[in-house]
């Protein structure tokens, strides 16, 4: 396709609301070529300029358009010289796009604000303290550790000398090699060496004579073991104490998230004014062994001032990977969304949840002659108290005996 046509089409589209819709369709179908003719006609209608000057503008703005796009994406700032270089029409386009981009970025910013795990800073500081503690313990207290284990205690004559070694460098090298054999990380051993006087290094070494290395290694492994065990106990305690990590919490999150995602995805369902026939809804309810009852026909319920809510929306939907029935009841307080979930779903536990706009509850409907209850998720606008409405809906959704 001719690039200048592309640009001309784009320039026209951003000017005219109808053409924005057209361009969006173009994006979806990726079928720009078919629309070139129409859009060029639009361009001619909006800007009755001669063909020659139009194509010159298009050629000229070919590069400009792309550099704008990048510049907009990069930060939305044009230099004064660049700005003056643009035609008024191009400046208008820039303003429109900058505004649209700011709106888009605001939404993206909110979407990127993922929740940070609770007590993350405390966990990091704890891990750092443990690491520091371990390093200090290993670096500063090896002789004391030696005395802890009776089998490694040695007669005074064979105790390692704490006098400065005649050859400190050789000792450091030997210590480093020894550390590596014990699979200590290089960085840790280097750091220890950097902060450890040569006397300690010497003391930490086994005497050269009789079968010295094994006891020292065992002590060091013992220290590591204790430190690691302590770390694990502390961290796992912290982990378990944090409800946000438990699988139940995640399920609850999933239930709420799926519910709200679904409702926002089908917001139109809340504003529809149609009313669905009871027989149709009952056919859909068969899978759940439920049927819609008319409270008005039940004298007892009428006396208790029960109302019958009309169903304004009914559809089988995918809910967290399972087939569910999505209903919207029309109540005097406003539309109430109800999801009926099959007994096979994996979202468990009792839940109440809310976001800025809606709140919801998960309730169970007992079924006659069925061991499992039906899960029902009821969601309404925050201003609507859910409990009385749930009672009404439970009265309407009665189990079938079949």
């Amino acid at each position: 396709m001719d690039k200048s046509m592309n640009v001309r089409q784009f320039s026209t589209n951003t000017q005219n609301q109808d053409n924005i819709v057209q361009a969006r369709n173009d994006l979806a179908h990726n079928d720009l070529a078919n629309n070139d003719q129409t859009n060029n006609e639009h361009a001619a209608a909006i800007q009755p300029t001669d063909v020659a000057s139009q194509s010159t503008t298009a050629e000229h703005s070919n590069v400009d358009d792309l550099s704008w796009q990048r510049q907009l994406a990069a930060g939305g700032v044009l230099s004064a010289a660049q700005w003056q270089h643009l035609t008024p029409q191009q400046q208008q386009q820039w303003r429109q796009q900058a505004k649209a981009r700011a709106q888009m970025d605001a939404q993206l910013y909110l979407a990127m604000q993922v929740p940070v795990p609770a007590q993350l800073a405390d966990k990091i500081l704890l891990a750092q303290s443990l690491a520091l503690h371990n390093e200090q313990q290993i670096a500063l207290n090896p002789p004391a550790a030696t005395a802890l284990l009776p089998e490694t205690a040695m007669p005074p004559a064979s105790m390692p000398s704490i006098a400065p070694s005649a050859n400190p460098s050789a000792n450091r090298q030997a210590y480093t090699n020894d550390s590596r054999q014990n699979r200590m990380s290089d960085t840790t051993s280097d750091q220890i060496l950097d902060h450890t006087p040569d006397t300690t290094v010497t003391a930490f070494q086994a005497p050269p004579a009789a079968s010295s290395a094994p006891p020292v290694r065992r002590i060091r492994w013992f220290n590591y073991g204790v430190a690691t065990a302590a770390s694990l106990v502390l961290l796992s305690g912290l982990w378990l104490s944090n409800a946000g990590w438990s699988p139940w919490f995640n399920h609850e999150q999933n239930l709420a998230r799926h519910t709200f995602a679904h409702i926002y995805h089908e917001l139109d369902a809340l504003s529809t004014t149609s009313s669905i026939e009871r027989t149709t809804v009952n056919q859909m309810l068969q899978d759940w062994q439920l049927a819609l009852h008319d409270n008005a026909s039940n004298q007892r319920l009428v006396q208790q001032d029960h109302q019958t809510y009309a169903v304004q929306y009914a559809r089988f939907c995918d809910f967290a990977g399972v087939r569910s029935l999505h209903l919207v009841f029309s109540t005097p307080q406003g539309p109430i969304t109800v999801f009926l979930l099959p007994s096979t779903h994996t979202l468990d536990g009792d839940h109440q949840f809310s976001d800025a706009r809606f709140h919801g509850q998960r309730v169970l409907i007992a079924k006659a002659n069925h061991p499992t209850a039906t899960d029902m998720v009821v969601v309404g606008a925050k201003a609507i108290p859910l409990d009385p409405i749930i009672r009404q809906i439970q009265q309407q959704l009665q189990p079938t005996t079949a």
């Binding site: 979806a28 720009l32 796009q69 990048r70 994406a73 429109q96 939404q107 909110l110 990091i124 917001l267």
Partner: protein, 184 residues
């Protein structure tokens, strides 16, 4: 691509331990959320992001003497996050210059899309973006970094960063539009 700055162990710690620990605690409390979110948008798994965050700060602790300019603390931490993440994935560096020219054929951009229906699904759309587009977009939109700062952090050409930002937005718009079409 050159290797990012390497936070090695300090040769000698000038500051006393208590002071370094204070600095470290301040660093953690100031930037833990940013580091976690950046890590999350790199790896897209909460548990991995948390591990990355902890690893990053432990490395930062060992190298805290290197942090001279507090103004650059966040970029410095992000560099460590990127390196820690890169250890998990050997990312293939992309061809840089070939990308720019292809934009001449880019589809027209219409940002006047209605977001009401799609905004709830934006996180998954962002997550579906390729990492080379997602990363600069997160740095720009979530952390307000300029293209120059992003280019420095990602060790990349400025034009490449701008191109990726542009293309990332284009892809998101297409995805949003596709969602709307499917829904409508």
């Amino acid at each position: 691509m050159t290797e990012p700055i390497s936070p090695e162990l300090p040769a000698d710690s000038e500051a006393p331990l208590w002071l370094r620990q204070r600095q470290f605690e301040h660093l953690v409390r100031s930037f833990q959320a940013d580091v976690y979110r950046f890590a999350f948008w790199l790896c897209q798994q909460p548990s991995v992001a948390e591990d990355l965050t902890q690893e990053t700060f432990l490395r930062a602790w060992k190298a805290i003497a290197q942090l001279q300019d507090v103004q650059k603390a966040r970029a410095w931490l992000f560099t460590i996050v990127r390196r820690e993440n890169a250890r998990r994935f050997e990312r293939k560096s992309l061809e840089i210059d070939a990308e720019i020219e292809q934009d001449l054929l880019a589809a027209p951009q219409t940002e006047s899309i209605e977001w009401q229906l799609t905004q709830q699904r934006l996180p998954e759309l962002i997550a579906a973006l390729a990492i080379e587009y997602r990363e600069p977009m997160v740095l720009q939109i979530l952390f307000g970094m300029t293209s120059e700062e992003i280019a420095e952090l990602m060790q990349m050409n400025l034009n490449t960063v701008n191109t990726r930002l542009y293309r990332g937005r284009q892809q998101l718009l297409r995805q949003c539009h596709a969602l709307e079409v499917n829904h409508g």
